[in-house]
């Protein structure tokens, strides 16, 4: 008779077969059998968080920085509901997560038992798929399917809800190798004809632009290498979404910077005026397109995406190529090289005028700000942080708000998987736990959470997790005592009625750091900034860096609401020069 395993054992056997090394979680009544089994599986390390939302974001940071799926383990009821924000965040930003949740025993489901909730019901709209395991014989298949669904096609979160009696029940276990391979949905659906069409469009274009997104990062490091080759080969300008930063070197001359609501003047104007727009792994998000009716009106549009439902969802395109970014770019460069050996030269002449125009936009220097020697400007702080960390392999996470946009604008990324930020859902409190996950996946590397003082307080408790596992993450708080982005919108759109956006009572972050057992550093003027940043980098412990910045600073440039790309609101310098301070307000 074959050996029988409990449901809890099967969970771990599946995790082992999937080569999972870390899980992020929090125990509770309905997952105790699984926690009991943890001690027998030394290859899997459990990271105990302080709140299940933290487990979810940590797993996201882990997944985004390593390319492997993040695994979360939580209990029933509140454990499951607490992880919902992180699941939704992962769903919006296409991060592969496998969340295992405990559930009350099968016979109690539906009776309003202690710590019972309809977990699969609640998480149905925020996962790619979820399962309630009602029979231990299904557990193994479901676990493997869960990893398959989470990591293939457009990645995303899944949830497996396992009632406590199923965790105890016994059954046989068949090794994965013997099992039939599960059919994979949504793979490549393009053919050579599509690629030929793309190349024809590229040949004809005189004002082309690449617009790349998180899909390039999700497709794996190879995709970024191929993208660099393709961009070099064609000589086309390239801009990236928030999520795509790092897949193309941020300091390269062909890179126009980020586009969208707080993107650069050159990137947005190039998007508006181009005659060929090649979208690689991005989804025409509303923060990118601005006013849809006037979005890039003169261009032929190509959309390369693995998810067929992303095509024509927001913007109608002329050529859709459904497939993995890596495979599409590979075929494109291969065909390009075969057919047009001189493309680079001929193209460069053809598009030289386009580059001249781009240089004109560039000369606006839209990311400029008026620096000060008395008060730390937040942009200056990010620039200094970049200059002082760019020589080592640095991972940046962020919270959500002005600091996030400044980090995206002023920190230049050269590699994919180095930039973890909550874009789709915009989750304040994402960065600290995400940094923990990043540090777990990348020990010895420098991991910095560029934060705001309001966001950080949402998941502050996780600093305790960082201490417990000696994860030397750096929390770099741009402290302006306001919910800065809210304040900015209130200033520009709501007649400076700063309704509830000022934090009356903030903690002393240095003392708070000490209370948690890590190091606190405060910087209050520009002269001491560099020295203190260096001090932070050199401490091999978690650090909370309280950087006091200008409270009134706004994040520019900006596309005001309901406006197209070519009607950007520029910074104070430009506003003064053009005397549109008054009109500028009317614009929004």
């Amino acid at each position: 008779m074959p050996k029988l395993y409990t449901g809890a054992e099967i969970v771990f056997k599946c995790l082992e077969e999937k080569k999972v090394n870390h899980i992020f979680g929090y125990p509770g009544g309905a997952v105790l059998p699984i926690y009991d089994e943890l001690k027998n599986h030394t290859s899997i390390k459990h990271i105990l968080v302080r709140h299940e939302q933290g487990a979810g974001h940590a797993a996201e940071g882990y997944a985004r920085s390593s390319g492997k799926p993040g695994v979360v383990l939580v209990t029933s009821g509140p454990g499951a509901t607490n992880v919902v924000t992180a699941l939704t965040d992962a769903y919006m930003d296409s991060v592969p997560l496998v969340c295992i949740s405990g559930q009350v025993p099968t016979h109690l489901i539906g009776t309003d038992a202690f710590q019972e909730c309809d977990t699969t019901g609640i998480t149905r709209p925020c996962t790619k798929h979820n399962w309630l395991v009602k029979d231990v014989n299904d557990l193994q298949r479901i676990m493997h399917e869960a990893f398959e669904v989470a990591t293939t096609g457009r990645p995303g979160p899944v949830l497996v809800d396992i009632p406590k009696d199923i965790q105890f029940a016994k059954t046989k276990y068949i090794s994965l190798k013997k099992e039939k391979k599960i059919e994979i949905k949504n793979k490549n659906r393009f053919n050579q004809k599509d690629i030929d069409q793309l190349i024809e469009l590229m040949n004809k274009a005189s004002k082309p632009i690449f617009y790349t997104g998180g899909g390039v990062v999700n497709s794996g490091p190879k995709a970024s290498e191929l993208l660099r080759e393709l961009v070099a080969l064609t000589g086309f300008p390239i801009t990236s979404t928030l999520q795509g930063l790092g897949s193309y070197p941020g300091d390269d001359n062909q890179f126009l910077g980020m586009l969208g609501m707080h993107g650069t003047y050159e990137a947005n104007n190039a998007m508006h005026d181009c005659d060929l727009l090649i979208n690689i792994g991005a989804r025409f998000d509303d923060r990118i397109t601005g006013k849809i009716d006037e979005f890039s009106p003169k261009s032929k549009k190509v959309h390369i995406d693995i998810d067929p439902s992303s095509i024509n969802k927001i913007i109608k395109v002329d050529l859709a190529i459904v497939g993995d970014v890596t495979d599409v770019i590979k075929s494109t460069t291969k065909t390009l090289k075969k057919k047009n050996i001189n493309l680079e030269k001929s193209n460069k002449q053809k598009i030289s005028k386009w580059w001249q125009q781009i240089q004109k936009w560039r000369s606006k220097e839209s990311l400029n700000f008026i620096n000060s020697d008395k008060i730390i400007k937040p942009q200056h702080a990010v620039q200094r942080l970049y200059e002082l960390t760019k020589n080592q392999d640095t991972f940046i996470t962020t919270e959500v708000g002005q600091h996030q946009m400044w980090a995206a604008q002023h920190y230049k990324f050269n590699k994919p998987n180095r930039w973890m930020t909550s874009g789709g859902l915009g989750t304040m409190g994402y960065g600290l736990p995400a940094a923990i996950g990043v540090q777990v996946a990348n020990p010895k590397k420098l991991v910095i959470d560029v934060a705001g003082e309001a966001s950080i307080l949402m998941t502050m408790q996780e600093i305790s997790t960082a201490i417990q596992y000696n994860l030397p993450i750096k929390i770099f708080i741009l402290n302006n005592q306001y919910m800065g982005m809210v304040r900015q919108w209130q200033e520009l759109l709501h007649e400076k009625n700063y309704s509830e956006s000022y934090s009356e009572a903030l903690p002393d972050f240095v003392k708070l750091a000490e209370a948690y057992g890590c190091v606190g550093i405060r910087a209050e003027n520009p002269d001491e900034l560099d020295k203190k940043i260096e001090e932070m980098i050199n401490i091999d412990k978690p650090v909370i860096f309280d950087c006091h910045v200008d409270q009134a600073e706004n994040c520019f440039p900006m596309i005001p609401s309901g406006k197209p790309h070519n009607q950007m609101l520029l910074g104070p310098k430009d506003q003064e020069e053009n005397k549109i301070t008054g009109k500028g307000k009317a614009l929004v």
Binding site: R124, K128, V149, D293, P308, S309, K313, S561
Partner: protein
């Protein structure tokens, strides 16, 4: 529009609404219907009617027929989003005007009144294959199969013939000819 304070832009062009019948083949498993219906409500799509039943007991396949209205872009999204659901095998999409597709709905009418009244009611239904499922001296239950607007009309007409209760299904659909949808 000019002085919008919203962070979101509103489209100025909206295409014309069309009515479509979406046919979805799914694994007949727990909560599959709520996945499909949840997709519609979550993304703001509209369901006019819904019919669902298992059509293959051996491989546990259910067939869901949904009548929906939306712009062509929305209809396309509905199909693509449905295809992403794990238990969905295939999705069919037909315009209501499509001559190659048959649509039918069924309705049960309870009519109460004298034998004469019931006979009148039955006569009125003549065009729609009426079947008497139950009859007493004072009442009858009549089954008809027809298009939605025909049933709507019948309900109006039968009001004066003693109609007291109506139960009806959502539309089901099938293509004409020997071909099946793949």
């Amino acid at each position: 529009m000019s002085k919008s304070k919203s962070a979101y832009s509103t489209p100025t062009k909206v295409s014309k609404l069309e009515t479509h019948i979406i046919v979805v083949w799914v694994d007949n498993e727990a909560s599959v219907l709520s996945r499909v219906v949840g997709l519609f409500s979550g993304r703001g799509y509209n369901i006019e009617s819904l019919a669902v039943a298992e059509v293959d007991q051996k491989i546990n396949i259910s067939r869901i027929t949904i009548v929906t209205t939306g712009t062509p872009e929305v209809i396309q999204q509905i199909v693509l989003q449905l295809k992403k659901l794990v238990p969905v095998h295939k999705v069919g999409n037909f315009k209501r005007e499509d001559k190659n597709v048959i649509f039918k709905e069924m309705a049960l009418f309870k009519v109460v009144g004298s034998a004469v009244k019931i006979k009148k009611a039955l006569n009125a239904c003549k065009k729609f294959n009426p079947v008497i499922l139950d009859q007493t001296k004072k009442s009858a239950v009549i089954q008809i199969t027809a298009l939605r607007r025909e049933i709507d009309k019948m309900i109006k007409n039968l009001k004066s013939h003693g109609l007291i209760s109506v139960s009806r299904t959502g539309a089901v659909a099938m293509t004409r000819g020997a071909e099946i949808f793949n």
